[in-house]
């Protein structure tokens, strides 16, 4: 019965978060709809932003991404690409494409520790583009190097394999300007670009992925971002701002010592550190989520890469929870201490153990007394139907506020995959998380395998990094 109670309890919590998302969705819809109304993108009053783009072996996508970033609708911003000791031609391609030259005696403003910088490159013809070439140190280290060079009060971290919508940054800035004193971080909505038509560094035609793995992730992202993060941000309990696209107040990031180096999960870690710092210093703050600021990203499209990514996430999550266990059930940390952290420990980090032991116990119980098999069926059905309801809820939110996928067939496909997710994919997620925990215990801190594919449909090139 414990397992059934667990399912009921966890789903009640999920539904509460989803309900908060529904509560806010009309405001989000109106905010998104009326944003075309104002003229902020031409205003000098918008705060300047430094876009930080860590790049490791991104030779296939980097130019398209930088071109995309350099043509955003935003008054004043700079793009700082940080080549994190790539072993491919990432740096060479950047230097050639933008005719960048080394800059001697560059004004490094910040003092956050990072790996040795080999060189900083710039071309006055592209005054808002800088490239930092540094020794390999990981994503967090690259972001720290970018912060040190950045010239503006706001920073935005963007993955080199992601494409921002043209007005994504201005939408975030508008949200920041609505409460600049309290806002320390804003997360954007990350969507899966696999299957979309990409031209000139922008998504021209939105379509669902054709392959099975990205399709599952598409549903998963919709559920997590729309069904979850809108609700969490409403109660200021957001524990993560996606590393693919987020905006931060630079002084706050520097105050917490920048990004944590040497371990995955730096995007969650920086947000926990910000919460901790602001609450310990009794400062009013908010970590917001801006679902109308959209970033399109390439999702892993093979089992090998996806499993590698998910194990890494599992490791990062566990590390963050262990590092910050002092916040757990600590009223000093308000929503973070009393809701978000317990939720993440019990229902995210320990989720595999509850699920597996629950299932084993149920199976054992039924084996002992075969007449009780309906309980096992009931457990499975509860798990499936409640989870499916959450997916349907997220799709309703998408339809109310964003309507990105126009075709009726897309809706059918999303509903079908939302159901299929529970047959295999969900269980694999539990397994990968468990394997991530095993890797954590074994001190395995490798990044794993990752491939990159060119945005261009004509070029079927892929590159691999390990």
């Amino acid at each position: 019965m414990v397992a059934i109670y667990y399912v009921v309890f966890v789903n009640t919590l999920y539904f509460s978060i989803l309900a908060l998302s529904f509560r806010n969705i009309w405001t989000i819809f109106r905010r998104s709809h009326y944003s075309k109304y104002n003229t902020l993108s031409g205003s000098e009053l918008v705060p300047s932003v430094s876009l930080l783009v860590p790049a490791y072996n991104e030779e296939l996508t980097i130019i398209e991404n930088v071109n995309c970033l350099m043509t955003l609708n935003y008054p004043t911003y700079e793009v700082i690409v940080v080549n994190d000791g790539s072993s491919d031609a990432t740096l060479k391609i950047l230097l050639e494409e933008y005719r960048l030259k080394p800059v001697p005696n560059t004004k490094i403003r910040g003092k956050i520790a990072c790996q040795k910088i080999r060189g900083i490159y710039h071309n006055p013809e592209f005054p808002d583009l800088y490239v930092i070439d540094k020794e390999n140190g990981g994503k967090a280290d690259s972001l720290n190097a970018g912060i040190n060079l950045s010239h503006y009060p706001l920073i935005s971290s963007i993955d080199a394999d992601s494409l921002l919508e043209k007005d994504a940054l201005i939408r975030m800035a508008r949200m920041y300007m609505e409460n600049p004193e309290e806002t320390v971080a804003i997360g954007g909505d990350v969507r899966i670009a696999n299957g979309c038509k990409i031209e000139n560094g922008a998504v021209q035609d939105v379509s669902l992925p054709r392959k099975i793995w990205p399709m599952f992730q598409s549903i998963e992202y919709l559920k997590a971002f729309l069904g979850g993060r809108i609700g969490w941000s409403h109660m200021n309990g957001l524990i993560i701002v996606s590393g693919a696209f987020g905006m931060f107040r630079k002084d706050a990031v520097i105050a917490v010592g920048g990004y944590r180096d040497g371990y995955p999960g730096e995007d969650m870690n920086i947000i926990i550190k910000l919460h901790r710092y602001m609450l310990e210093n009794k400062l009013k703050y908010r970590v917001a989520f801006c679902p109308e600021a959209v970033c399109w990203t390439q999702a892993p499209d093979s089992y090998r890469i996806l499993s590698s990514q998910r194990k890494r996430w599992g490791r990062g999550n566990l590390k963050n929870m262990l590092e910050n266990r002092g916040m757990l059930f600590n009223p000093k940390y308000k929503v973070m201490g009393m809701v978000t952290m317990p939720y993440n420990v019990i229902f995210e980090a320990l989720n595999p153990y509850f699920r597996i032991t629950g299932l084993l116990a149920l199976a054992g119980y039924v084996l002992l007394d075969m007449t009780q098999w309906p309980i096992l069926v009931l457990f499975g059905l509860l798990n499936f139907v409640s989870g499916y309801l959450l997916s349907v809820g997220a799709l309703v939110l998408e339809e109310i506020a964003f309507k990105r996928y126009n075709k009726l067939s897309d809706l059918v496909k999303m509903l079908v995959y939302s159901a299929l997710k529970f047959v295999g994919y969900h269980q694999l997620g539990v397994l990968w998380r468990l394997q991530g925990h095993v890797q954590f215990m074994q001190n395995n801190n490798s990044w794993g395998t990752m491939t990159r594919q060119s945005w261009s449909e004509d070029e079927k090139k892929t590159s691999e990094a390990a």
Binding site: N105, E181, P300, V385
Partner: protein, 402 residues
Amino acid sequence: MFPSLALAYLFLYICIALVVVGVILLFAMKMSHNGKRRKTAFYELKQRDYFTYLQTALTENSPLKLPPGKLAPLERRVIQDRLIEWIDQFKGEYRDKLIALCREAGFVEHDLKELGRLRYGRQIDAAYRLGGMRCPEAVPGLMELLKDEKPGPMAIMIGRSISRCTTRQGELKDMLALLLTKGKSIHHLAADILLETSLDTSRILIELLEDRNPDFVKVGLVAMWGQAVPEVMPALDRLVGAEHQDVRAEAVKLYLSASPALRDETILKLIQDTDPEVRAEVVQALGSKHASGSIPLLRKALRDEDWRVRYNSAESLSKLGEPGFEALCQAAVQGTGAEREIAMQQIESTMQHTRTEDRAVEQMIAHNKKRLLYDRYFGPVRENRTSKKRTGVATVGGDYTA
């Protein structure tokens, strides 16, 4: 066991019912949205000739004609949206003609009625469109709506509508007061909203800068960026000594960017300000005003505790010719710690910059003088500087996806 099972069954049935409702809702919404999209596209196509006519007729003296025939509600909305889009893009006579057309077509009257409805969604939609149509009669209703609105994006939108609609300066100030009393520090956004007005902004800015409410002053200062309003200089002069730190910092920035000359007592006062932002602005201004008499002050500012002040001082010294450059060299040789570091950085930057980019004879002469000074303090310039490269760092790369 039984109550738990009963609870589980109840939960299951509720979930199933909600799934069924959700799926039906999804299909209904999708079909409705797609239908609306198709109809909108159809009406846009249908009214293409009318839109072409409007673009041509805007340049003529005669008033714009109404669209022909009886219009469906969505068709009216398509036309209204297009007119609002153009009103935003055009100014002067063209804008006035489009606004008059909106009135004649009944769009203004309809939205004024909508603004008085009880349903919040309809009120908000009407507020948005009335702002787009610059309707002064809507201001009292919009003001009422703003009073009840929580701080956030909708309050901003209503404020913007009021700014666009109003023909009275007092209403603009009332709107600002309502926005700013909602407890959030939205001075930049409020300034942006303020500048949407069609009223004479210079008078409003003077009034804001002279107001006793620091929030109004801050909005006025922020709105001043990029605006040339000579009449505000006395007010700025006074605000340079303001009590509020952020007001003072903003005022100093504006004052220094606009003032052709700085009085010695003003410089001395500002360079000792407690706010590093103020000090940084002052030392930066000293360089751009080529005030070589300020070299001792700048030399002292190289020891400031704030990085920006030190950096701006070094940069200003490098702009003050040979005396300034010599002061940098002295700081690099005689100074210690951060002072020495920033001076050295600036010297190397100046040497590199002039060596590679300055081609003009005068600049070469100036450069050579600086080079002589450099040689005197540090010895001959080394042409090729090499940096040691570290190797053997473990690779930590890969997928940076969220």
